[in-house]
């Protein structure tokens, strides 16, 4: 199914869509408040963008430097070209340790690699410990947002899931009660775990250390309780120096949720004495994206989710309509690089309003890249006949002044005089769930000429 078809399914529940839209816009407003309170915010974004551009231009050397420093600190480093290799490496570490129970904190990379089903097939229990991820895990779904994984679920739905999986009593979706029940359950899981898997927010070449950010404390509860900690990172998570964290940590949480910083920003440099720490560095299509000059900057992404919260299409279509690990505007420029045919509708799931680029803390030109993907997709992927025909007609009309004027006049005439059932028919997508604007007699051209004449 294309994005628009899946979006239509999400839009069947109008109340839910309206809630989703407003909830995410509220997060966007919190981001604005937080950003406006920081002196030099725009300069921070410029610095961050410049650092990421430098990283990509020197990525091999930074990775080598990172590896050497991590090894010197007693951390084991692994490299995986593909998702499959990544899963094999993680599985092998667990096998060597005879680990059967694993707790995992949020990592979009392990989602991308489909690590959970891979490990479960080998008889390993994997528990997602971020509350939102835990909710989607027991619902047998995938996250619909990279920062707010269960934003598509109502509290009543969570209540029912918890009754079924945790044996909670019905509470009409009381968030305090449900969160506390999850806390009790997950605490047991942390303490029983044989290994903990986390993501990586930033990996510092200069020190060989990694930083993991959470609000819940789940990454730390897992990694400090279990005997083995495995941290999985894409190659683009590297930053050159520790002082650069000052820039990225100031941007990350403010852009994500409007908080000044996440509750926990944990700096791992050495394993706990007597315990093991592994880092798995993953390519899985990233070096290919690096080769594409127009789309390279998509690798700057620090996964804050600001582009999703601000996007009028994302807010009204929901993350699952993108059918990709990373949804929203950033996902729509990353996914076509992985599978152009499967994700060919995503770059069209945008109004090209540019709001995503305006809020991006690392200044990725997201809307321009969406436009560039469209150029490639219309050439390389077969387009529906209706769309092709309409665009051909539009091309002719827009390049011919007389035809354009006739087109405008007849549209205004129809909107004014045609009966409602015709204007708001299935043929007119613009009339779905909204009232069309009142039509004036003139077009802009006529109005402007008249004004000029009257004003002499």
């Amino acid at each position: 199914m294309s994005h628009s078809e899946k979006a239509a399914v999400f839009n069947k529940n109008e109340a839910k869509v309206n809630w989703h839209d407003k909830a995410l816009w509220y997060v966007r407003e919190k981001r604005d408040n937080a950003a406006h309170g920081v002196k030099g915010w725009e300069y921070l974004r410029e610095l961050a963008s410049g650092i990421k551009a430098n990283v990509l231009s020197n990525l091999d050397d930074y990775l080598i430097e990172f590896e050497a420093n991590a090894l010197a600190n007693g951390i084991k480093v692994h490299w995986a070209s593909s998702a499959e290799e990544h899963n094999q490496i993680v599985s092998k570490i667990l096998e060597d340790k005879k680990a059967k129970k694993v707790v995992k904190s949020k990592s979009m990379l392990t989602e991308e690699c489909h690590l959970n089903p891979y490990l479960e097939n080998k008889g390993i229990e994997v528990v997602d410990t971020d509350l939102g991820e835990y909710i989607v895990q027991i619902a047998k779904e995938s996250p619909s947002h990279i920062v707010l994984p269960a934003i598509h679920k109502t509290k009543e739905e969570v209540d029912e899931l918890f009754q079924e999986h945790l044996g909670t009593t019905p509470s009409n979706g009381n968030p305090e009660y449900l969160t506390n029940e999850a806390r009790k359950h997950l605490r047991k899981k942390f303490l029983q775990a044989d290994a903990a898997i986390t993501g990586v927010n930033f990996a510092i070449a200069e020190t060989g250390g990694i930083v993991v950010c959470t609000n819940e404390g789940n990454a730390d509860m897992g990694s400090h309780s279990a005997p083995v900690h495995i941290a999985c990172m894409g190659i683009e998570k590297i930053i050159p120096k520790e002082e650069h964290l000052g820039i990225f940590l100031r941007l990350l949480a403010r852009s994500a949720t409007g908080q000044p910083i996440t509750t926990y920003s944990s700096h791992f440099n050495k394993p706990t004495e007597g315990r093991e720490m592994h880092i798995v560095i993953v390519d899985n299509g990233r070096t290919e994206q690096l080769s594409r000059e127009d789309f390279r900057a998509s690798l700057h992404c620090i996964r804050c989710g600001a582009c999703m919260n601000t996007c009028p299409i994302y807010r009204r279509s929901g993350g699952h309509s993108y059918d990709a690990t990373i949804p929203g505007p950033i996902g729509s420029i990353l996914s076509p690089g992985k599978d152009l045919t499967k994700h060919s509708s995503l770059p069209f799931a945008s109004t090209l309003c540019g709001s995503c680029s305006n809020v991006c803390p690392v200044k990725i030109n997201i809307h321009e890249q969406l436009y560039s993907w469209r150029q490639i997709i219309t050439k390389d992927v077969k387009q529906p006949l209706v769309k092709k025909t309409i665009l051909k007609i539009a091309g002719v009309v827009l390049s011919n002044r007389t035809l354009y004027n006739i087109g405008g006049k007849s549209a205004r005439f129809m909107l004014k005089y045609a009966p409602r059932f015709m204007v708001y028919s299935k043929l007119n997508a613009w009339g779905k769930a909204r009232e069309l604007p009142e039509v004036k007699n003139q077009n802009f051209d006529d109005w402007y000429k008249e004004k000029r004449k009257n004003n002499g």
Binding site: Y26, V27, V38, K39, G40, Y43, L47, G50, N54, L56, S57, L59, D60, H78, W79, A80, E85, I89, T129, D130, L131, I135, L148, P149, I151, V158, G173, P175, L178, R183, G209, N215, E216, G217, N218, D220, M221, H224, S225, E243, L245, G246, I247, L249, R250, T257, Q259, P260, I261, T262, T263, Y264, H267, N269, K270, T272, I281, T287, L290, R296
Partner: protein, 193 residues
């Protein structure tokens, strides 16, 4: 396995070297009252501030604030309130039912209410997360304006494990309702001395 292939592919695909610019800290300098800004940000992120007056005793004040706490992990640098002795050999599951932990904070960051604590301040890494409630004792002279200054302060540290902690653990994963107390500590009190 993938190492050589990845590095080779990067070499082939990366753009020409782009410069790494210095950070101009002037752009972020502000005349603000560090203590006031820090205090209001700790409260913004859900923490509680308690300023210890000259005649007040730390242990008494902590006992007043957490009267039900029985299993307490103290910190010899700050008070003798501890009832559970711990060491590097303590296993995480032995701390499962800790009511309260007191940790010395190294310094605070005014712009976001975060406090730097490191493994040197608590012998077992899981302590600040697994404890039900957390108290951080901080000298009010030890504040800096923003994270750029903070990273200067920790640049020379012995790097093993450390973190910026800002408020108690929290989540808004159920319909965006903020709930304090997710998987980490349920409350954070910052005692300023």
């Amino acid at each position: 396995m993938g190492r050589e292939a990845i590095l080779k592919s990067i070499k082939q695909n990366k753009p020409a070297l782009l410069p790494l610019h210095e950070i101009n800290l002037e752009a972020f300098s502000e005349e603000v009252n560090l203590l006031d800004t820090f205090k209001s940000n700790v409260e913004l992120v859900g923490g509680t501030i308690q300023e210890l007056k000259k005649n007040e005793n730390l242990t008494t004040e902590i006992n007043k604030r957490y009267p039900k706490a029985k299993k307490i992990v103290g910190n010899s640098q700050t008070s003798d309130i501890g009832t559970i002795p711990i060491s590097k050999e303590t296993e995480p599951h032995q701390l499962e039912n800790i009511d309260l932990a007191i940790i010395k904070g190294e310094f605070g960051v005014a712009e976001n209410g975060a406090i730097w604590i490191s493994e040197q301040d608590f012998p077992i890494r899981v302590l600040p997360f697994i404890t039900n409630d957390l108290v951080i004792v901080l000298e009010k002279e030890n504040l800096c304006l923003h994270l750029h200054d903070a990273y200067k302060k920790i640049a020379g540290r012995e790097r093993s494990f450390g973190l910026f902690i800002s408020g108690p653990s929290k989540t808004a994963d159920i319909e965006q309702c903020l709930v304090i107390g997710a998987q980490g500590a349920m409350s954070l009190t910052v005692v300023l001395i």
